[in-house]
């Protein structure tokens, strides 16, 4: 058993300042994860040179891989830091903020663009009201299984971080939002505006921007079949395209 764990952390003091690497060496404690290491640094914010520094800033909440907050690039691979176990990681452990979003500070980034994409694809059910209107539609178990998997998406950003097409300088919707449009286009009432979602996917930044690298599905921590979703939406978009032509 090692006595210590070394973490190399890419830090950045503000949105506009330059980034720099800082190394921390902390006592090794069995069953640590990246979060508990960051917490240990908080409780004793001293870098490997023995200098007192500000604690590292990161974003986290649930710590059980259901909220999506603590996503970062760990040893070059995008992942939730809560489920990144120290014993399973190569040392020293390198931590960087995701590169496809503006950095807020240190390891925290601004993923507003992803939530914005959910607005663009109208990822919601339009309800007549929240009063008692009886049960919803019956559904088969097989339909539920597909929908459930898609609805596990926690907007964490792994898929778009891994995507070669998604960048700070373009407006690609990204796999997560495309997959959400599939989820709502298969819902018994949300599909009433399926065509509007397809219109969005046909615009610039839509489905045509996908380069079919298939990195997204590999990176997804919830194993959501993102490439299947993209293919399905591709089919729906081409169907709409041909319908548009014949209706014109």
């Amino acid at each position: 058993m090692p006595d210590t764990v070394t973490l190399k952390i890419k830090r950045q003091d503000s949105e506009t300042s330059d980034s720099y690497w800082e190394t921390f060496t902390i006592p090794y404690i069995p069953s640590s994860n990246v979060i508990s290491c960051l917490m240990d640094i908080q409780a004793n914010p001293v870098n490997a040179k023995g200098e007192e520094v500000t604690p590292v800033f990161w974003e986290s909440n649930c710590l059980e891989e259901v909220c999506g907050a603590c996503t970062m690039v760990i040893n070059g691979k995008v992942h939730q830091s809560c489920s990144a176990l120290v014993d399973q990681l190569e040392k020293p452990i390198s931590l960087e903020p995701m590169s496809k979003f503006p950095v807020v500070r240190d390891l925290a980034v601004d993923r507003d663009r992803m939530f914005g994409a959910l607005k663009k694809v109208q990822a919601w059910v339009t309800a007549d009201g929240y009063h008692d209107l009886g049960p919803g539609e019956r559904e088969s178990t097989s339909h539920q299984e597909v929908a459930y998997k898609l609805s596990e998406c926690m907007t964490c950003g792994c898929c778009v971080e891994a995507c070669p097409q998604y960048s700070l300088s373009n407006n690609f919707l990204g796999a997560a939002a495309i997959s959400q449009s599939r989820l709502f286009n298969m819902h018994p009432t949300a599909k009433n505006i399926a065509d509007e979602r397809l219109d969005t996917l046909m615009q610039k930044g839509g489905i045509a921007d996908c380069g079919n690298a298939q990195n997204c599905v590999e990176a997804c921590p919830k194993s959501i079949p993102l490439t299947e979703s993209i293919a399905e939406m591709g089919r729906q978009v081409s169907g709409k395209f041909w319908r548009n032509i014949f209706q014109a």
Binding site: P45, F57, N61, C82, V125, D132, P135, R138
Partner: protein, 644 residues
């Protein structure tokens, strides 16, 4: 559009349900949250949401759900609220289904229901094992739609510090801290709703998320709001140990047939699968033949404590027991429990399809919370138009969800929290709007200096915090405080230890004054906030500990062995109802009862008279002053609980 505005603090199930419902009714909403609301703690709820839909034809009904809830809470919950909640539960589940929650289905395509603790019925609707996440997402989507329509404005990355109160003590808005720029300013609101969840972090590592510090409700308490039933903290029987947090292993694992056991022989070093059936002690099944592994959480946690500490039968001699699902097929487990089994494997490296899980009890939920009001109708339900519903003792300041105190009494039943969160958010909305539309003076007409003064006070407080240059690291101090709470204010409580913990908390409070603000930068700096939250957690730990010290009885999750009334094992709760009936009629036929039963019933009656009361903590001179209030038990007569 309505010119008046409501501020909702917190974007979990309760906050989003209230936001959505009030927006539907045309109210403008400012929604404030630490994080993007989609990341709120409600995502951690796994097993399901209760509602007596009776899909399985078992004869379940909202009335039975109501009874189970009240009994589960050891009769400490206000009954009209519980009844109204249970009556609305089937509608809430249908609503969430309509809004797109991917609930599991029966072969015929109906919603599927499973069993949960504290009931004998299949009453829990579920979406795999991530039901809270799915419910939250559905509400998040509705609120996002309102955001696009301009009815809801979101302030994510913002923190509630306190309320703006006028001279009459009426709430006029909130002081909001921008967690990126550090700016502190007042937001005007004709009403403010605290839907800020529970206070788990007072205990450090728990099943709660990192934002669950209870800081918002504690701030309300420090501003004069009453706090109710603080000492009732739920310990969940099954969690997975971890250094940063204790991850929940859902009760649904037992709802789907999971069996809890330990080796019969202390210190048995064999692997669990090598231990033959007859050498396994299924202690919950043996001790509670009727409810078995699905006893309520307070009972389950106490039994695990008993088996590990008193009988020394814990796995590897530790405070751990096995939770075994290996008798099910992989396909069954993945379909119904997928998410949580995956999490267990990810964090422990052990595959629960093949090996029994090792679980132990962890702090999970607070039944107590900020005191809130309600208006009951003559038939024992709730008048949904009343502006009193969910209002704290500060006029115009409301609370909903885990932040309030009134639905779960002394112990919450599993899968009732998702229900109570959505129910309170929806139920309170018409009343809040009635309040807002009838306030004598809109906040827009209040003199600006009221807001400026309140803002300045908080700005000064934060610059003082930033200037703290003592020796204590705030995070290290928090760990120490949490350790003290875990050691002494947990499953089994003892007055001498509670007393010494109260002294210890005073020490932590003085050490807090010697904190060093380890980050004094201006941008996206969480440290000053945390120091302020830690102060509030210290105050909240006093509420919990003092409430526990003064309550000399055993009720629900609050267990003091010294005051256990020792229910005879062959006692039936109905006997007590007969006894009470005779008492009311003026003649008790004492000879008709077993002497041991009679003596127990007398003890029970005296104890209830004294302690079947809500604990109220009020902030006085730096400490909680404790008093007690009557509980509305008018619908179901209180009686001894029994689950075997």
């Amino acid at each position: 559009m309505n010119k008046r505005r409501v501020i909702v603090i917190g974007g979990g199930l309760a906050g989003l349900a209230a936001t959505m419902k009030m927006a539907e009714l045309g109210m403008s909403i400012l929604l404030v949250s630490f994080l993007p609301v989609k990341r709120s703690h409600s995502v951690c709820a796994q097993g399901g949401i209760n509602g007596a839909v009776n899909i399985k034809g078992e004869g379940d009904s909202p009335e039975i759900h109501f009874y189970d809830t009240v009994k589960g809470g050891d009769f400490l919950a206000h009954q009209p609220l519980c009844k109204d909640m249970c009556l609305h539960a089937p509608y809430i589940i249908n609503l969430m289904d309509r809004l797109g929650v991917t609930f599991n289905r029966t072969p015929e395509g109906n919603l599927d229901f499973r069993r949960f603790g504290g009931t004998l019925y299949h009453r829990t609707a579920f979406a795999g094992a991530t039901t809270g996440q799915q419910l939250l997402y559905a509400l998040d989507e509705q609120v996002r739609h309102f955001e696009v329509q301009g009815l809801v404005e979101k302030m994510e990355w913002h923190e509630y510090l306190g309320s703006v109160l006028n001279d009459d003590g009426r709430c006029l808005g909130a002081i909001i801290h921008n967690l990126r720029s550090g700016e502190i300013k007042a937001e005007k609101g004709d009403a403010v709703i605290l839907a800020t969840g529970g206070p788990g972090l007072v205990y450090g590592r728990t099943t709660n998320s990192m934002v669950c510090t209870g800081t918002a409700v504690t701030s309300a308490y420090l501003q004069g709001a009453k706090y109710g039933n603080g000492e009732f903290i739920q310990i969940h029987p099954s969690a997975i140990p971890g250094r940063d947090k204790l991850r929940l292993m859902s009760e649904s694992a037992r709802g789907e047939g999971g069996r809890v056991w330990v080796p019969r022989k202390a210190g048995d070093s064999r692997k669990p699968r090598e231990i033959p059936e007859k050498e396994r002690f299924y202690f919950l099944e043996e001790r509670y033949p009727l409810f078995g592994n699905l006893v309520p959480r307070d009972v389950g946690a106490r039994e695990i404590y008993d088996i590990c500490v008193n009988d020394k039968l814990g796995v590897h001699g530790e405070m751990k027991v096995y939770l075994d699902l290996t008798h099910h097929t992989r396909e069954f487990l993945d379909h119904r429990l997928g998410g949580i089994l995956e999490i267990y494997e990810k964090f422990t490296g052990v595959d629960p399809h093949e090996e029994p899980m090792e679980i132990f009890p962890a702090v999970h939920y607070s039944m107590g919370g900020i005191w809130t009001d309600y208006t009951r109708t003559e038939d024992g339900l709730i008048d949904h138009q009343s502006p009193n519903n969910q209002m704290t003792s500060i006029t115009g300041l409301y609370a909903a969800g885990e932040a309030d105190y009134q639905y779960h009494g002394g112990n919450r039943l599993g899968a009732n929290s998702l229900l109570s969160c959505i129910y309170t958010g929806l139920m309170m909305s018409p009343g809040v709007i009635n309040y807002v539309n009838n306030v004598p003076e809109s906040v827009e007409d209040v003199a600006e200096n009221v807001f400026a003064d309140a803002t300045r006070q908080w700005q000064e407080k934060f610059s003082e915090i930033k200037g703290m240059s003592g020796k204590e690291n705030p995070y290290a101090l928090h760990r120490e405080m949490a350790e003290e709470m875990i050691s002494n204010v947990l499953i089994v409580r003892d007055n001498s230890k509670l007393k010494s913990t109260l002294d210890k908390i005073d020490e932590f409070e003085s050490r807090w004054k010697n904190i060093k603000c380890v980050d004094t930068t201006d941008w996206s700096n969480p440290v000053p906030s945390f120091i302020n939250q830690l102060w509030n957690m210290i105050q909240l730990s006093k509420i919990i500990t003092k409430g526990a010290l003064l309550r000399d009885e055993f009720r629900g999750s609050h267990y003091k062995p010294e005051f256990d009334l020792s229910q005879p094992s062959d006692f039936k709760p109905e006997t007590y109802l007969e006894f009470e009936k005779q008492k009311e009629a003026g003649i008790v036929k004492e000879n008709a009862f077993e002497p041991e039963h009679l003596a127990y019933m007398k003890r029970f009656s005296v104890n209830n008279k004294k302690w079947l009361k809500t604990t109220i903590a009020t902030y006085k001179e730096g400490r909680p002053e404790i008093s007690y209030e009557e509980v509305d038990t008018s619908l179901i007569a209180p009686r001894p609980r029994k689950y075997d």
